[in-house]
């Protein structure tokens, strides 16, 4: 009762801040005031949620307010699952606010951002706290609309206007699917609070339908392939700290929606539910990273890469469902821990990377990597933080991204015990997809960091860039530090997740923090163990030893000279590898199938002085074969129905009569 009341008052403060932003719009310090307020409130909310998760997670904290629908009211609840996700949202919001304190001053249209930013935060938090279908859906839609307004902050840009349109359509579609899912869950009795939904009996047919609808609803918000199309358009369009929130945090709210509905409300899962989620996750992870590799817009690359990480999270969730359906609760706990750990990790490093991309944007005005380069010299601190994010997201030890992928692999290795043949065949294939996407992610971030920060500047803007302000740097380094901490001391995160898995799959991983040296051991030490702390210490020691030995015995002389480049250095920065040329080998290997990539060389005839041209055509199959036909059908139907607007009153009355008769017939047949 106390915790949830504290959290709700925090949300109320955020909503008040949204109103205050409108009232104070002429004040010169409004940016500082609003971001300062959201920073403090988000920190308080994250702290409260963490406290509840660690100390009192077994006892949910409930409150019912007389708002909303008169016969339902507004129910709010804080249990282990919601306190974990609230901690993720709270910390992401806090870092984003801190970043906004500095970055927000660059904003050209602050009045389009400031009122919606606290409202967006409040919306995400309300979704997580909601304990009845009406409040949940209302908050969900509020969150979508607030973020839509933020996407449209720079609406004069044609691309942004299109992004906002696609986002709005997909968000409405997702909410529609969720409304139907809740309608089915509540059943004829119509108990819309979560407690009565949990208690209701469900048939297998209903389960299948609800799963499909939730995958459509929450999956479209999270970015599951093929529902991901809005995400790489909308996330980069928003101001960078909002992009960080949308990509790092809002997709996690969608994951929360999926977990709440499928694991908690729907009750006992079936094995094929796990298989469907698993396959979707595998396809999403590989396609997401392949899309990301083909991009040369830094923020769009990051947005596509979010799709990959959502895939990894859903692989973990699918495994958890499959294990739970077969009564292997300890394995389900392992898989669910891996998925939720990745939720936490991705919120950290994706926010960090978007902050970095925002810093680059603020310093150079460029998002296109082909016009960047050499920023490591101009922006040394940003580049260090961005590098930490790149290493973490590429799942490399000793940082945090590796731990969650390692746990996912360990969960996959438990799955030969599963009895169903479908799972036996699919799980190894999904394991291969996960490994493929991890390796491609490393390639993707070598490209992102190498082209943007290394090499020589490709434009004058990149050549004259200046380091960003301290608030932005503080936000980036705070998350970089957390990435390292979660990587070398993963046992604390795993133990923190134990109440969540206990409540959802009635199982938990063994207590990790009591193991000597802070190792993590999912099952038994002889089977598998990993110690991030020792790996980190060993690398530090051996690097130090190498440096000491070199400085003791080897030559100290350093001579600065022009680049060697095999004797033929070219002074023009245009001779460097670009983002497109870096991706060329991978494009040839994978994109020929995935995107039907075609390369054509146009070589002018001898004597012709036109430059030769290499044209690469990529086809987005999802867009061409799924969305274009749907848009075509909708357009056709709209064209036909358009005629209905020009009828006489006599015909309209006739239509009304016909509709009435047919509806009455349906009712008569139904009962």
């Amino acid at each position: 009762m106390i915790s949830v009341a504290v959290l709700l008052s925090g949300v109320a403060v955020l909503l008040a801040a949204a109103v205050a932003a409108i009232a104070l719009k002429h004040s010169p310090s409004v940016t500082r005031v609003i971001y300062g307020a959201t920073l403090i409130v988000s920190l308080a909310i994250a702290a409260t949620a963490l406290h509840h998760l660690v100390s009192a997670a077994a006892a949910p904290s409930l409150i019912a307010l007389p708002l909303g629908l008169p016969w339902v009211g507004a129910h709010f609840r804080l249990d282990a699952l919601s306190s974990f996700f609230l901690f993720v949202v709270g910390s992401g919001s806090a870092a984003s606010s801190l970043y906004g304190l500095g970055h927000g001053l660059h904003e050209k249209a602050p009045r389009r951002v400031l009122p919606f930013f606290p409202a967006f935060l409040a919306g995400m938090m309300l979704v997580i706290l909601a304990d009845d279908a009406f409040t949940f859906l209302l908050s969900w839609e509020f969150m979508s609309l607030a973020s839509w307004a933020l996407v449209m902050a720079h609406h004069h840009d044609r691309d942004n206007a299109r992004a906002g349109y696609v986002y709005l359509v997909m968000a409405s579609f997702g909410t529609l699917a969720l409304i139907l899912a809740f309608g089915l869950l509540a059943g004829a009795g119509g108990g819309y609070d979560f407690a009565s939904i949990r208690a209701a009996e469900h048939t297998p047919h209903l389960d299948a339908l609800v799963l499909a609808l939730v995958l459509l609803g929450a999956g479209s918000k999270a970015g599951l392939v093929p529902l991901h199309v809005w995400l790489p358009l909308a996330h980069p369009a928003a101001p960078s700290h909002v992009s960080a929130l949308m990509s790092g945090v809002m997709t996690k709210v969608a994951v929360y929606g999926f977990v709440r509905l499928i694991f908690d409300l729907l009750g006992e899962p079936t094995w094929w539910a796990g298989m469907i989620v698993l396959i979707l996750g595998g396809i999403t992870s590989v396609l997401g990273v392949l899309y990301a590799l083909m991009q040369h817009d830094l923020k769009r690359l990051l947005a596509y890469h979010t799709v990959e990480n959502i895939g990894i999270i859903f692989i973990g969730l699918g495994l958890a469902l499959a294990f739970q359906a077969n009564g292997m609760n300890w394995a389900a706990a392992l898989a669910l821990t891996a998925a939720l750990f990745h939720v936490f990790n991705h919120a950290l490093f994706k926010s960090l990377l978007f902050f970095g991309a925002g810093a680059v944007l603020a310093a150079t005005g460029e998002r296109d990597m082909e016009r960047l380069g050499g920023l490591i010299h101009r922006m040394p601190y940003t580049s260090i933080a961005f590098l930490v994010g790149c290493v973490a997201i590429s799942a490399l030890p000793p940082l945090n991204g590796f731990v969650s992928e390692w746990l996912t692999f360990q969960a996959i290795l438990q799955s030969p015990e599963l009895p169903q043949w479908g799972l036996k065949i699919m799980v190894p294939a999904v394991g291969a997809m996960l490994a493929l996407s991890a390796a491609l992610a490393a390639a993707c971030f070598v490209k992102a960091f190498g082209i943007t920060f290394l090499g020589r500047a490709r434009s004058s803007a990149a050549e004259t860039a200046e380091e960003v302000d301290r608030f932005s740097l503080a936000a980036m380094f705070a998350f970089a530090g957390l990435c390292l901490l979660a990587g070398i001391l993963p046992g604390f995160v795993i133990d923190g997740l134990a109440p969540v898995t206990q409540s959802l799959v009635t199982g938990r991983m063994p207590v990790q923090t009591e193991i000597p040296w802070f190792s993590i051991v999912p099952i038994a030490e002889s089977r598998s163990s990993y110690n991030g702390l020792l790996v980190f210490v060993f690398i530090a020691i051996s690097a130090t030893l190498a440096v000491l030995a070199i400085h003791r015995f080897a030559s100290h002389a350093v001579r600065r000279a022009p680049a060697w480049d095999c004797g033929w250095p070219d002074p023009s920065p245009e001779t460097q590898y670009t983002a497109a040329s870096f991706a060329q080998p991978i494009r040839r290997v994978y994109a020929t199938y995935a995107f039907r990539a075609k390369e054509t060389v146009e070589m002018p005839a001898p004597g012709d002085r036109r430059p030769a041209q290499l044209v690469v055509r990529l086809q987005d199959l999802v867009w061409d074969y799924l969305y274009e036909p749907i848009a075509g059908v909708v357009g056709l139907a709209a064209g036909r129905l358009n005629e209905l607007q020009f009828l006489t009153i006599r015909r309209y009355l006739g239509l009304v009569f016909l509709a009435l008769v047919s509806l009455l017939t349906v009712i008569a047949l139904w009962t």
Binding site: P428, G431, S519, S526, V547, A583
Partner: protein, 316 residues
């Protein structure tokens, strides 16, 4: 306790000492197979010392990353190589990282090497880095599939446990293990840039990968990178030896005699693997760079097939 630490220390030193020797041995055997005299087997040590004594020439626009990367690459590779059982299993810190983590440590080293290749902004560095990550994008999943096979057979991803299981009589002959061995050899060849994937002896060739990345390095930095490359070759040789030829490995807490026997067996296994590698390299031609994905895709499919067989055979 002190004895355990000592054995662990010996292992860390051993991989350092033996790594250049293995490289030199492979070169020597290759030279003899081509009826050349060849350089002495200790030539790699001389090369390293020579590089260490020379001044480092660093490009004018090199950043701090260019100068720190060699040490990071060396450290990560050394730690990974020291975690693979060489002459004894169950070492003091063997539980620090399982096989997946060892593979990932190598991936960390590669990540920094690819970045260092792009730091100066030359086209050679870019070509090397982009091809290296392309090859890695297939070699790493193939390696993970091999880990899956081993883990499913032995019930562990811990290398010491896998090696002990391979020594026990219950392992038997399994199709999956055979597939995994072939896949592991392919991955090892690709990861170490050996013929037919890459040629460690060339310096300027359009298909080169590793040498193009490190083109700008010189002096002590180059020494670190060459040393790391030798360590990586040793790591893969030790890995194949400890999993597929585990005989002679001293068990945990063994006496001096067993450890000495393990050491002799290890050196003999390295010599055998080095000899086979030299024969393989001299008897095959280098392939075009875009044939490499097919070669490695084969390894990935073999690994996947092996895993699938194990998944399916559980219920039979």
């Amino acid at each position: 306790m002190i004895r355990d630490l000592l054995v662990q220390g010996v292992q860390m030193a051993l991989v350092l000492i033996l790594a250049p020797l293995l490289t030199g041995f492979v070169r020597k055997v290759k030279a003899r197979l081509l009826r050349r005299q060849g350089a002495s087997v200790v030539q790699p040590y001389r090369d390293l010392l020579r590089l260490l004594r020379k001044e480092a020439v660093v490009a004018e626009n090199a950043s701090w990353l260019f100068r720190t990367a060699p040490y990071l690459i060396f450290a990560a590779t050394w730690v990974a190589a020291a975690l693979v059982p060489t002459f004894a299993t169950g070492l003091k810190f063997s539980w620090t990282a399982d096989l997946i983590a060892i593979i990932a440590l190598l991936a960390s080293a590669r990540f920094f090497l690819a970045l260092a290749g792009m730091d100066i902004g030359t086209s050679f560095g870019g070509i090397g880095s982009s091809r290296e990550v392309m090859i890695a994008s297939l070699a790493e999943p193939a390696m993970i599939m091999i880990v899956f096979v081993l883990a499913l057979v032995a019930g562990a991803t811990q290398l010491s446990t896998i090696a002990e299981f391979m020594l026990s009589p219950e392992v038997g002959l399994r199709v999956s293990l055979g597939l995994a061995l072939i896949a592991l050899i392919i991955v090892a060849i690709a990861e170490n840039g050996r013929i037919p994937v890459d040629n460690p002896a060339t310096h300027l060739e359009l298909t080169m990968v590793h040498e193009a990345m490190v083109l700008e390095y010189s002096g002590r930095h180059l020494a670190m990178i060459e040393f790391a490359a030798a360590l990586k070759l040793l790591l893969y040789a030790s890995l194949i030896a400890c999993v597929f030829v585990p005989w002679g490995l001293a068990p945990a807490g063994a006496g001096i005699a067993a450890l000495a026997l393990g050491l002799v067996a290890y050196v003999a296994k390295l010599a055998g693997i080095g000899f086979l590698l030299a024969i393989f390299e001299t008897s095959i031609a280098k392939m075009r760079v875009f044939r490499v994905p097919e070669f490695l895709g084969g390894a990935l499919m073999l690994g996947l097939l092996g895993t699938l067989l194990l998944f399916v055979s559980r219920s039979l």
